[in-house]
């Protein structure tokens, strides 16, 4: 497999190795992200899926060095274009943030400073990284607003965040994130706070960014539909660990982890009768201070057996990885029966 070999030799855009993020609390050390590793290649869109508290946001915030809690302990290695980010000073990180790696947040209303115009905030970011006179920064801001599909960018540039609709605000925010041509864009639930129709437009815009600017994107979501729309590869996180790493095709045709299956079930079917109630996963996510020693999902898993008391490693086969003790055959069989039950 010469192609796979070649991609392995190339330095990935982002490589995270054994990242651990824990917080010192009164009840002991809380392990929010437990030894995760992943990589993002150039022009790749990676989806990170998981429910609240699964560590997806925390792990990406640590990539940006945005965890300011003095009680946070970050271990492992984050290599961006081969450069180690863990342990960099805030000053050194500042030159990466915004210019190399940019971030988009869930709610563009609260994520923009309410008292400044859109243009002011975009110019601020441009001028923080590039030595541009104000007039040029402003022209660039207008240009960017046009590129993200805002009608009449020349007047929008002087509007305040509260004067725009949610979708327009998110577009303006994306324009700001793009202002210094970052190689990597981290989008933390960028569509969650938006109307469904606007969601699709924003996802289209992200797709266009990859096409036109060659950006890589990490998109955090709890919505498998978003993943289906846009991602090349998906990481499923549960209780601070990656439980499955899979291509977009395989996540819908042959997912391996019972947690991923359960996530599938929670999507309403597009065809056939509507179920009376969407199935939910029994139980609740474990508290991070009292994780079971074995598989964290085991207490909620229909397929658990004796071996689940041991913690499963993330084992991969041809690029598809899952942290589950079920054998590949069993996974296929259980998933097939599950599908039949649903139908």
């Amino acid at each position: 497999m010469p192609e796979a070999l070649e991609s392995r030799l190339e330095v990935p855009l982002l490589e995270v190795r054994d990242l651990r993020v824990s917080f010192r609390t009164e009840r002991g050390l809380l392990l929010a992200v437990d030894t995760i590793s992943f990589r993002v290649d150039t022009r790749e869109i990676v989806g990170v899926v998981g429910e609240s508290g699964s560590g997806k946001t925390v792990s990406l915030m640590s990539v940006m060095g945005l965890i300011t809690d003095p009680n946070a302990v970050i271990g492992g290695s984050i290599l961006y274009k081969g450069r180690e980010l863990v342990g960099l000073s805030q000053r050194q990180l500042r030159s990466v943030r915004g210019s190399e790696i940019a971030m988009i947040f869930q709610d563009p209303m609260t994520a923009l400073t309410p008292v400044y115009t859109i243009g002011w905030q975009i110019e601020e970011q441009i001028r923080a990284h590039l030595d541009l006179p104000r007039s040029k920064a402003r022209r660039r801001a207008i240009e960017l607003l046009g590129e993200v599909g805002i009608p009449d960018p020349a007047s929008t540039v002087d509007r305040f965040p509260h004067e725009l609709s949610g979708g327009m605000r998110q577009r303006a925010f994306i324009a700001m994130a793009l202002s210094c041509n970052p190689s990597l864009l981290i989008a933390d639930e960028p569509t969650t706070a938006l109307d469904v129709t606007v969601q699709a437009q924003i996802l289209e815009l992200l797709e266009k960014l990859r096409r036109d600017f060659g950006s890589s994107i990490i998109i955090v979501t709890h919505d498998l539909g978003v993943v289906a729309e846009i991602a090349d590869r998906v990481m499923v996180m549960y209780a601070g660990r990656i439980v499955e790493r899979v291509s977009k095709r395989d996540i819908f045709t042959r997912p391996w982890h019972p947690y991923t299956w359960a996530l599938h079930d929670s999507i309403p079917p597009l065809e056939g009768d509507k179920p009376h109630r969407l199935p939910s996963i029994p139980g609740s996510p474990p508290s991070l201070t009292s994780l079971p020693p074995g598989c964290a999902f085991a207490p909620r898993c229909r397929y658990r057996f004796a071996k689940c008391a041991e913690r499963p490693a993330l084992e991969s086969e041809e690029g598809h990885a899952a942290a589950c003790h079920l054998s590949v055959d069993e996974r296929a069989r259980f998933y097939a029966t599950r599908r039949q039950e649903q139908a």
Partner: protein, 323 residues
């Protein structure tokens, strides 16, 4: 803007009318408050009392008395004191107002600059020794009564250490008009300014710190960090700007009240014949015309300061509409 002015003016007239009626009723219509017996002195005979009552127009119906007083205050400007007969009231207020305004405006500069400095520095060094020391100092500032602090300042600078190099510049108590000698005006008022400002520096510094700490948790601060901005820029341009709303609200209330006579204790301690002192003396003598005039003046400034606060809101936060 025009409609704002009209609305504010109407509001001011309404407030002033309400307050004037209230003050008038308190001194004329509450049981036992007979201004005539007060003017006539103790043990005055009924005949004297009746004469006084007639003389001052106190035997006429209350609404007429009120209307007459308002007419003399606002239209003919010849309202005279009950106590010092013939002494016109309005010139007295006009003479006292610049003293109070000088005192309060100068103190306001100190307390705005001082408290913003303290609040920002405390948040920048959050949870460190500096932060704790600043907040403790703020608490001490709030806890010191202004009359006590003023007396201590006087004791040190006017008496005990006046002849040392440190305080020999301190002029004697009193007031010099700015138009007369600006340098002397500054020197006489410097210590009263600081004395009056210390309470507010402590108070506002602590409030601002709390607001800044809250603002630093906001999503837009996280955005600013993700943009690669420096911490000082995030603090000053993003967090401080949005935290000033509460600050300005407090400022409007306190400033209005102080200009309106709330700086009485400072005025008395430093021998400044300001509006607070004027009101206090008038209250002691139940000199109703003077009370009425100073109260009208005070209510004007309270409403005026609030109007300024509204304009400041709209400048600070574009979400507030001036309509």
């Amino acid at each position: 803007m025009a409609s704002l002015l009209v609305r504010r003016t109407a509001q001011m007239l309404f407030v002033m009318a309400g307050i004037s009626i209230l003050v008038f009723l308190i001194f004329f219509a509450t049981p036992g408050s007979d201004p005539a017996s007060r003017i006539a002195g103790r043990n005055a005979s009924p005949e004297v009392l009746a004469a006084v009552r007639h003389d001052f127009g106190l035997d006429r119906p209350l609404p007429v008395q009120y209307a007459l007083m308002m007419q003399r205050l606002f239209i003919t400007h010849d309202l005279t004191s009950f106590v010092n007969r013939g002494q016109q009231v309005i010139p007295e207020v006009i003479e006292a107002a610049p003293v109070t305004l000088s005192l309060v405006l100068g103190a306001a500069v100190f307390w705005v600059v001082g408290s913003i400095g303290i609040g920002v520095l405390a948040v920048a060094t959050r949870d460190s020794v500096i932060d704790r020391l600043l907040m403790a100092a703020g608490l001490i500032g709030i806890s010191m009564p202004v009359y006590w602090l003023g007396e201590i300042v006087n004791l040190v600078t006017q008496s005990r250490f006046h002849d040392t190099w440190l305080f020999s510049w301190v002029p004697p108590l009193g007031y010099t008009a700015f138009t007369e000698d600006p340098w002397l005006w500054f020197k006489t008022l410097l210590l009263p300014w600081i004395t009056l400002a210390i309470l507010y520096i402590g108070l506002y510094g602590r409030v601002l710190r709390a607001n800044l700490v809250e603002a630093m948790q906001e999503d837009y601060v996280r955005t600013a960090r993700a943009k690669g901005l420096s911490e000082s820029r995030i603090l000053l341009r993003h967090a401080l700007r949005t935290s000033l709303i509460a600050f300005v609200t407090l400022f409007g209330l306190d400033f209005g009240a102080l200009v309106g006579g709330g700086a009485l204790l400072t005025e008395v301690v430093f021998g400044l014949q300001g509006v607070g002192k004027l009101t206090y003396d008038a209250l002691r003598n139940l000199d109703l015309p003077v009370i009425m005039a100073t109260v009208m003046y005070a209510s004007f400034f309270v409403v005026f300061a609030n109007a300024l606060v509204d304009i400041a809101y709209a400048t600070l936060d574009p979400r507030v509409r001036l309509a």
